[in-house]
Symmetry: C2
Subunit: 568 residues, 2 copies
């Protein structure tokens, strides 16, 4: 039975990201409130997105995962002293009595239960990993990388150097980060993905660029499901794939996504959304006005499609927690607008990021009037050791409104995606971005930043000047019975060093105007021009069009964006 006091009682269930953020915000807004965090495990405020980097040895101090920015471990003593928040760790929330506004809790050390009263309750119960329902999934040697316990387990494997081969099941963000971590630990790694591509936040051709880079360090199996875990004496000895391939291994890390941990909410009769996440409105309020929810346990609005999505990302969890904490203590005053689906992943020397919709999700969300382009350039000048960026931009053709952007490569992907994310939030169009005013100096960018250059290419495509075609279309045409004339306009030395080998003819751009007689006499012949990144390819196409060829195209992104094996 709850008793009323004049101090508002805020109870938060969950102590990872959204929960502590909500609790801290509530505390800052009401120094007199009683703020309590209920946390099942001993740790609090874990930087769970850092687990792969701890496992991979980017740092060695486990406490770094639990520290404030000033290096203090955020344990219950820290919470009570610095924030006057009671953090009840090793305490499980068993059920919610919404009528009496209490949470039934069990102290996992003593087994004792207690009813904890609340005026406002904030659910931040996180997510649970999916486990493939295949034979052998209970063998020893199978883990996830979801909890700090999992991180401890994998870090010990790294430190013990006890394992030679491991398999990651699932080629998403966590799967790839785990692959890198265990590879850095000296383990021979394979990754298995059911779908035809890694990182489904990317479109296929962009994911292929990641796959080719990852494939330099790790065995990658896409389009190939897991059939079974194979064991001997209760221990994992291999995995069997859907196509029959067996991969011997002593360790398997399952990373096939997570589902909202909404059981407590469901049992309490709160509304659950179609994704399985707790339904919340823009105030992060559940169907019970005394209960808010935030983080990986909820579903939120996608700001482009207007649909509800499960977006289990640490940054959003913090923002949602901030809103839930404020509203829980002050009443509904601030709103959380939802997600643009922004994300990023490190893949050895590459990064891959996205914001907004992919071409695939744009189409499946009902957008039909779309136009896409792929652009490749350096992030800064060659003389400042610039690195390659490859961006795919998706826009609404008629309005030029940005719908999404993906970026892959060794360059500063994070900066590019951040710019696209803010541009999409600002409702900017391609026409706006062709004249953006960005910070330029050679140590930081090209004079025309990759972001602006991508807008330029898209503008040219929208205006019909740049007749770009994606690499997949080029490949399929090249392999057809009547292939187009494929024109590589790079220099001979570049051609010697690297080439597609799809039947292309080499005529360097600088020689093109004098060698037009080498081109098909039939001016209606389809010609596809390209170079390393297709800037010269574009210029070549314009030369040919001006000389009467009527069906000239450019392969977008050039050889750098070719998502297949090259001849060289």
């Amino acid at each position: 039975m709850s008793t009323t006091t004049n101090r508002k009682r805020i109870v938060v269930i969950g102590g990872s990201a959204a929960g502590p953020k909500a609790a801290a915000k509530a505390r800052r807004l009401d120094e007199n409130a009683e703020v309590t965090i209920i946390q099942r495990i001993p740790e609090l405020s874990m930087a769970s997105c850092g687990y792969p980097y701890y496992v991979g040895g980017f740092f060695d101090d486990r406490n770094a995962l639990l520290c404030s920015s000033t290096g203090v471990v955020r344990d219950p003593v820290y919470y009570i002293n610095a924030k006057n928040i009671v953090a009840r760790t090793e305490t499980e929330a068993l059920s919610i009595d919404r009528t009496n506004r209490t949470v039934l809790c069990r102290d996992l050390r003593t087994g004792e239960t207690e009813e904890v009263p609340y005026d406002s309750l904030i659910l931040a119960t996180g997510a649970l990993p999916n486990i493939p329902p295949v034979p052998g999934n209970d063998l020893e040697g199978i883990t996830t990388l979801q909890t700090i316990h999992d991180a401890d387990y994998l870090r010990k494997i790294r430190d013990d150097k006890s394992i030679k081969k491991a398999v990651v099941i699932g080629g998403g963000l966590i799967g790839i980060e785990t692959c890198e971590a265990l590879n850095l630990a000296g383990i021979e790694m394979s990754v298995v993905e059911l779908l035809p591509q890694l990182l489904t936040f990317l479109d296929w051709e962009m994911a292929r660029l990641v796959e080719m880079h990852l494939g330099q360090s790790v065995n990658v199996f896409t389009d190939n499901g897991l059939a079974a875990f194979l064991g001997e004496n209760g221990r994992l000895v291999g995995v069997k794939l859907a196509n029959g391939t067996e991969l011997p291994c002593e360790l398997a890390v399952v990373a096939v996504g997570v589902k909202p941990n909404s059981l407590l909410a469901r049992d309490a009769g709160l509304e659950i959304g179609s994704t399985g996440g707790i339904a919340v409105d823009e105030y992060m309020q559940t169907s019970d006005p005394h209960i808010y929810a935030a983080g990986d346990c909820v579903e939120i609005l996608h700001r482009i499609t207007g649909r509800r999505v499960h977006a289990p990302y640490g940054d959003l969890a913090n923002l949602e927690g901030r809103v839930a904490g404020e509203n829980a203590v002050l009443g509904n005053t601030v709103t959380f607008p939802g997600t643009f689906g922004t994300g990023i992943c490190k893949i050895f020397d590459y990064a891959a990021g996205t914001t907004g919709l992919s071409e695939r999700t744009a189409r499946s969300s009902g957008f039909e009037d779309i136009i896409t382009v792929i652009n490749a350039s350096l992030d800064k000048p060659n003389f400042m050791n610039g690195n390659l960026l490859i961006t795919k931009l998706i826009a609404e053709r008629s309005s030029g409104r940005l719908l999404g952007a993906q970026c892959v490569g060794p360059g500063s992907v994070s900066k590019q995606i951040a710019q696209w994310a803010v541009a999409i939030q600002g409702g900017l169009t391609v026409e706006d971005l062709v004249n953006s005013d960005l910070p330029y100096a050679p140590p930081f960018s090209l004079a025309i930043d990759h972001f602006i250059a991508t807008a330029h290419v898209m503008q040219n495509k929208i205006k019909g000047r740049f007749k770009g075609v994606p690499a997949a279309e080029v490949k399929s045409k090249a392999e057809s019975p009547a292939p187009p004339f494929l024109l590589d306009v790079r220099g001979p030395d570049e051609f010697e060093a690297m080439r597609l080998g799809i039947g292309e003819t080499l005529i360097p751009l600088g020689a093109l105007r004098n060698r037009l007689h080498e081109l098909p006499a039939d001016k209606n012949t389809e010609i596809i021009c390209f170079c390393k990144i297709s800037l010269r390819g574009y210029e070549a196409a314009l030369v040919l069009e001006a000389n009467g060829w009527s069906n000239v195209k450019v392969m977008e992104g050039g050889i750098m964006a070719w998502p297949y094996t090259r001849e060289r």
Copy 2:
């Protein structure tokens, strides 16, 4: 006398950034046009922003300054072969005959003159360095870093190791880049600035952070003009400052800004703006409809103040050239909207960037309803070797609209400024940005990116929760006869290692609630709280307010943003 042909004649005067861009764009839009570049020096398409890095030895191949992205030097042969553009180098444009539409040119090798006819003319005559009108300014050993010839001269000095001491006159962007370059060449450097601060695109307190960093490698003299260059036998031996200080040196680099090189336009009777730049409309068209202009020779619109400004930046030159080139060949079809004043500068291990208005320029432009805040945090987690960022944000108080942002520090300043630039372009408000969806993973950012965190602090300040005061106000109050109670809430070890020493009392945040009796008994006493970055300072202030103190403030940005010498 011009003769008409059916091929449009596009003549471009100037071959650095805007000119070649305009010429290339014109060529791409009209393969049949006659496109000619008139260039006074032998080189074309110089990456002039790269000169300091060539001088500083970031790279050694001079051709890298002149190359296309594929490594081909952009000489006249390249221009004619790859782009079918006639580049007449070592040719000076002497005058424009607007009636007959010709440019009188002189071949500097032969001395011969020729009238070159045009249908559209594009002026890209660049800028000229200001030279201080002081005694001795014609001594040998005084240079600028404006031309590739200057870069060659300074690079030779680096390679010859012939000089021990040098002085840079002017603490702007080029001055600071030159300081770094010559310091890296092993030369003892001093920089002299007439104004009270370096980098006037920053507000004073932000510029001080740059100055303190620069001061670790270079002697910095601010608020101190140049009185004379001192010479012996026609050679520089020192400089004399306004306050009488003499600095012995064998080399002086003058970097006190540039002025538009608009003489040719002025002589031709074209309209010149109040900044001295060629007046152009949004089509980059001058007062003569047959003449366009672009780059450092024009003045353009400032997109926030609506005023005309001289913005001599390489990125804008390219964008302006693109617009001028298209309109020159197709008629007025595309527009250039102007600048947000975005810029960035490398200072050894720091960067300093800006976009939009500074507090100073906002006030001088008539904005009165403004609010500013300074925020400090890492760019990514400590465990991923995060680096500090310090941002000053300027917004319109009533609407929350962003007016400007400045960022300084060893962290990823370029990414931060790029985000602010796009946000300002998108017309976003502080309320929009508190829930931005940015790419988060530990190798790239904090869970709450510095950009979003800065919006959070500003939101709290607008709502009256965060009562921030700038460091300058704290210092002046601390030195007043009745100083406020200054409360440092860091840990004792942090206090031992680093402290302001302005009369502050140390009470760690974690102990504060139990040590309230150590605070002034008079609850109206002004109290100013701070910590390393003032996050704990903010929490402390809330604790004190909740306990009855009525005049509690927080020092913005904490010790990290303190723009003065510290006790430790």
